[in-house]
Subunit: 346 residues, 4 copies
């Protein structure tokens, strides 16, 4: 039985970790860390867990936790994990960090976009970017995994095969993304109140969203080119789901079959990536509650561009599900252990 | 492996049966019956099932199906099951009917409230009302189970202990129920369009909802009295969930502890009924996607009434989940096999 | 031109006052009071008002304001208005208080249900309960109007004719009410976040909602009896709207026509009360953005009860619209001046 | 008093025409045309109009109507208006067509994208594209106005100043648009049911949306270049609202002030276009129920692109409001007569 500790267990991503791990047959949660709710019963904060979780919340003492847990998930604000991780801790336990602290290899880029100092630059090199579909082997052997961001996961997987195959002009890439509101977290802010989000759609963080450099770095690695792109995010009145609509010019004309072959090359056999049938657009409702990413594309002969699309549950494949997928790899378990949820519809 | 056939597999309740049974380790679906979509791939109708279900839809030929399946779920409009069931069929297979055809023991009552002739009155006596928490033993031995209605399940379980213990005046009972929109089915009607349901709440079927006699009959059996009550339903802009708020006069003053003891007497050890802690009201979000019913109550000393409340996912405990719970009983499996979903939140 | 001051202009009710008064041809707002946003441009807080309102927010100094305004709306938390109102102020200006401070005639009842001391009991007697349909003449001559609560307005108007005519047994009255989320205010609370309210319905304040004594007092006045009732409120995932479903026993059998005659007796000629046609249930979508209350009823011969229903926009007839209706009466204007909104659908 | 006839009065755009015209002091509706609901009371179909509209629906006989009405709004499917309009009709009455029949000057383009034959090509030249902000003078003198599409209105107005000033490379233009569900109409289709739209976002009509050539033509006229662009639409779970996020490369570097000056040049003094303050993104909630279009932009120095954004109520400025704005111009009334709605929030 893998002993799991969660720091930040009462945010939405933390709550989803608890939900998923509650049904995982080889893992048990030994630490529900939540600074805000110390000593409160976890099931009083997430009442869906009533009679399922009996424990109360503990603080975020990673040192102590690292002696008890085989793996720690940090579902915490940026900067937390980098400020506490150390060599001794990593000798005792594995860490899967759901924040951005170890996702970006260039410290200056991290510090510029996140506006904070990185407290543990020495672990950046070691950290593995936990996108299983790309870094599967590295993840298996990692002590420290940087769990990818929600938008980057969906954006990258929608575009990856064409970037890797060099079929698109990376300088023309525009990613227009839409997210449900759970991505904004459980903090009490006026902007996230029901009446402010409902019956509304808006763009936010235009030209400055923090996930931009993460996407650029990963697509840069895939394509072998430096990538500068536009990434725009929108808040949608729904709980879960991310939809990505990405645009790029094809380097040269390509038929449906040729593009499809590129997608199949990378995603055949992937348990959690579904390349949809021709002309079927991904929709968030078809992946809700599951670890799937649905992707597809459409060639526009008029403009010479290709539209690449992806849909995903931001709390599952975009956070907790992917984190558990990483855990499974790190502990030699079947990759879909505890993740075989059929999407919930309606 | 239990061979399962589903008639009406493309309605919302049918879709939920498919979702649940896809993860059930002792059952496999051998027949996706759907008159409207014969020969279409099931996953083209419910795209969440892409790469999960490969089969196409078949017709609703129960005769043929009964030779292949160990159990048939009929998630069909009122009247269908009664019009096809026969002795030979029940020799071959078990039937769990999700419609109202066999829920009401009095034919005249059925025919009056449903406005159709009952085609198989001879099976009404045999049919077991499949509310596992009450009729567990009878269900185990049944050939034909009448799966309870969504509203009746939630209403009954909210009130049952006090009716059974004779603590409330049954003639004062008023049930005010609220349901998400999946309860209205997947038929294309103007009244169920997004823009008609969204940003709205309305009562419907006032004084004439068909679930009224079913609730009255079951509460009558529990209390040993004839019951006449008011039952009002409301349509709420959400996908899933039923909330019941029921009012009755206490026969005599009762403390919290006395009432609580009644609930505990009937629900202690029940896998899928959660009696909440004092003063915590049931909410549909805490049970979504699960087979739980959350119940609680509040005594009003000012008026001498008690308010009984219940929350449930109408497609799970209110339909497909309860049907699978019945199947598990009928085949000697653990009652929660394939039903151990943790509620999905948010 | 009536000079209007608003204290609490940045809450949802305050925002609605601004919206309505912006289109009122005989009123102009001279004071946007908002303690939290002093010196901020009003249109930065409610961007719908961009290029419509140029002013910035001021503090809540009622003394100063009373010298400048012909009428002050206090859309403030309980206790504020009672703590500042004085004789001199009422010599200078009229006050329409949207809080509960002057709604309840019995101080002890107020203090018990609201849990605060009443600071101005001497004005309670003078204050007029501003339900225009009942107290029209008194409102015309009032200096201080207690604008009714949202739930009480909808509950009372749904029941009033039958209470007044003595047709229902007041001791059997049960009011089950449902409200959109704007009723919960614009404060930043976890419980009101989008993801907490969306896809959910719950009861709250069961047996203890503060609007209970207000409804009881008004129905008591109408019926000439002391009234004790059950009043339960529910939070619905929509922005605006209140729906009331009320139950009572008829004192004696009554036909549709007899009951209808009672409704017509009180509501014929009422500009903002629409008694719907037979069998049509009120729905919140049909009144959204307007000052209408839609009411109707259904007699249940089986149980001898009558179900009385009402739908209303909680921010308009339930708050700002009714306040402006009161203002119109107090200043001798047509009652619907600035209130002739056609409901917005969808 | 302008006598108005509406053909297609029971669709959502038709309903919005009725709502707006009900409050228009110089217009009265003399014909509620609705093939599907002939002889039914209009207020039985849109119950928000109860006690406001007493008339019943009539058929869609344009010949007869043209003898009674000063202006006819055709809120009908593509092809209807073109199939009935004739010279005699236009001698009698003005026509404002809310369909696409007369929006596109090139018949072949219309027939290709809409897949139907154009029955009245001879009126295409005469028809004025009713975007008041651009064609104000022509609209004043028109007999036949082609009311712009919802997406084209929002897209065009977001981009127009920069296209007109030649500041952006038109060949790089990508428009990613999001719409509420009322844009899909009131037809009973499974895809528009509440449970199918709620908790979901999807792209649709990718590379083939019919509004593409309309946008290309208008931007071509503005820029003096032939325009080929990508236009992608998304369905958002909300009733009203369109948000446009458009991307293009700047021909040469431009400061905020330079771009802002271009917007101001065209929109200063425009009653219904609000250019927001720096860094404020348009949101649909701030325009709901009103005739405003809110626009703004953001320069991305990293990529050399500009992001242009617009928000609008699809049923008002995107349909009925703009149609009434056109009517006002055609009849010499103030452009905002009957359109001075303050946006409704929340």
């Amino acid at each position: 039985m893998i002993k799991v500790g969660i720091i930040g267990a009462t945010g939405y991503a933390g709550g989803e970790l608890v939900r998923i791990l509650s049904g995982h047959k080889d893992a048990e949660i030994v630490w529900y860390g939540s600074r805000s709710y110390i000593d409160e019963k976890y099931a009083d904060i997430y009442r869906n867990m009533f009679e399922i979780v009996e424990d109360s919340c503990l603080d975020d003492n990673m040192e102590e936790l690292s002696k008890k847990a085989d793996v720690i998930f940090t579902a915490t604000p940026q900067g937390f994990c980098a400020s506490v991780v150390n060599e001794g801790m990593l000798d005792n336990t594995k860490i899967i960090d759901l924040s951005a602290d170890f996702r970006i290899k260039d410290v200056a880029t991290y510090e510029k976009w996140y506006g904070i100092e990185h407290k543990s630059p020495r672990f950046i090199e070691e950290a593995v970017y936990g996108l299983c579909e790309v870094n599967r082997e590295a993840v298996r052997n990692a002590r420290l995994v940087a769990n990818p961001g929600c938008y980057p996961t969906c954006s990258f997987l929608s575009i990856y095969p064409l970037a890797k195959e060099g079929m698109i002009d990376m300088n023309t890439l525009i990613i227009d993304a839409k997210s449900g509101t759970s991505g904004a977290g459980r903090g009490a802010k006026v902007g996230n109140l029901y009446c402010e989000v409902n019956e509304n759609i808006k763009a936010y963080g235009v030209t400055g969203h923090r996930h931009t450099p993460e996407i650029e770095e990963q697509l840069g690695l895939a394509s072998g080119e430096q990538v500068l792109l536009n990434f725009t995010t929108h808040l949608v009145p729904m709980n879960r789901g991310i939809l990505v609509t990405a645009y790029a010019s094809l380097k040269q004309k390509a038929t449906y079959e040729e593009v499809r072959a590129a997608y199949d090359k990378y995603y055949d056999g992937e348990r959690f990536v579904r390349v949809l049938e021709k002309d079927i657009c991904p929709e968030t409702r078809w992946v809700e509650g599951s670890n799937y990413v649905d992707v597809n594309f459409k060639v526009d002969e008029r403009t010479g561009r290709i539209i690449m699309m992806g849909a995903m549950d931001n709390l599952v494949k975009g956070a907790a599900g992917q984190a558990v997928q990483n855990m499974n790899l790190m502990f030699g378990l079947p990759e879909d252990e505890g993740l075989a949820f059929v999407p919930l519809f309606p």
